[in-house]
Subunit: 200 residues, 2 copies
DNA sequence: GTCTATAATGGGATAGAC
DNA sequence: GTCTATCCCATTATAGAC
């Protein structure tokens, strides 16, 4: 997954360093998920990684870079999982089901997504870019559905794309606050069943 | 709107104090909306209200109470507006349209909603209670729709209730990050048109 | 690379004069 | 009720020994 693993295994002084950085990124993911970026401290990350605060800042120059590392790690984890299954709808639901078993990913996402709407937040551009990209991807997917006659008549593909994204983000927050009352994957599936027609 | 305005107008020393508290609550709403709870400072609120930091803390005992005041003010503003129009669907869309013109309300909501998922956040119980209440209200509304045959067959009223809430919250975040690319009211209307059948 | 020590800053809250 | 002054604490970041 890291560049060090390409080719033969690294043995030099950088091998340990790279592992250390991974370890710290994982700790940052958990800390910023549990406490948010502004609520989490470098010391918290250090505690979670089992080292001193200064050691953390030896591997990452500052707190912002820790956040970037945490977001990159989240992307890496989610990208390297299901989602490639069968059709679009199915891959969305599978992804949601996978996430349910990795609450720390959802926690990071929800906390930072909300925080990022505030001024001067280091994750703002990350979410701006993410939303724009996914609206495009989902919109294109629904457009394709429409072209083969499987989108419900009257549904705008791009509105559906933004809606699916919004629904997903919103239901994650509800799930975090009341996991027993909310069925994430089921809610997404219900929406997809609504806009996508069954094969004729 | 405040209790002081019931009966004859207050003339004693408390009249000014109550106005001051309103002024501070409004400032807190703006500050916590723009910077989040953890990112906003009491000094920021004082600046926005045009007084010293200690004066703010004279009227509210601590920062947490400032947040409560901001949330209460948001509730008061949104409650005292449209939404009572005609049918359920229409009142939702009207409410969304109104909010679009009061971005500070959406900013506060989105920033705190995300932040509240983190540990020990003073707004957590507020959002937990809000979500539970609204899921119930929306669910009941869709159940009524179903009873008069205006819910699309196959749609679960309570899933639709949670979905509407999630969609609304999610689309607000997207709108804050890219106001030109997202149509909040239109997105909500599209969903409602999808699940609610036209009068026959 | 890792640590201890510490600088430098900023924020929440309190005391007390006016 | 409002302010100035201040306390105390947490936090980020750096310096420098080992």
């Amino acid at each position: 997954m890291t560049s060090n693993e390409s080719g033969r295994r690294r043995r030099g002084p950088y091998a340990k360093s790279a592992a250390r950085r991974e370890q710290i990124a994982q700790a940052a993911l958990q800390v910023f998920g549990a406490r948010g970026y502004r609520g989490g401290t470098v010391q918290d990350v250090a505690d979670a990684a089992g080292m001193s605060q200064t050691s953390v800042l030896h591997h990452y120059p500052n707190k912002q870079e820790l956040l970037i590392a945490a977001l990159k790690r989240r992307d890496a984890v989610t990208d390297g999982t299901p989602g490639t299954g069968e059709c679009f709808a199915q891959s969305i639901v599978e992804q949601a089901q996978f996430n349910e078993g990795a609450a720390e990913l959802i926690e990071l996402y929800a906390a930072l997504c909300g925080e990022s709407t505030t001024s001067d937040h280091p994750a703002r551009s990350y979410f701006e870019a993410r939303f724009e990209r996914l609206r495009g991807e989902y919109g294109a997917e629904f457009e394709f559905m429409k072209s083969i006659g499987r989108l419900r008549p009257g549904v705008d593909p791009h509105v559906a794309g933004a809606s699916l994204l919004a629904l997903w983000d919103g239901i994650q927050v509800q799930w975090l606050l009341s996991p027993d009352d909310v069925d994430m994957a089921g809610t997404l599936k219900a929406y997809l069943d609504l806009v996508i027609l069954p094969e004729s």
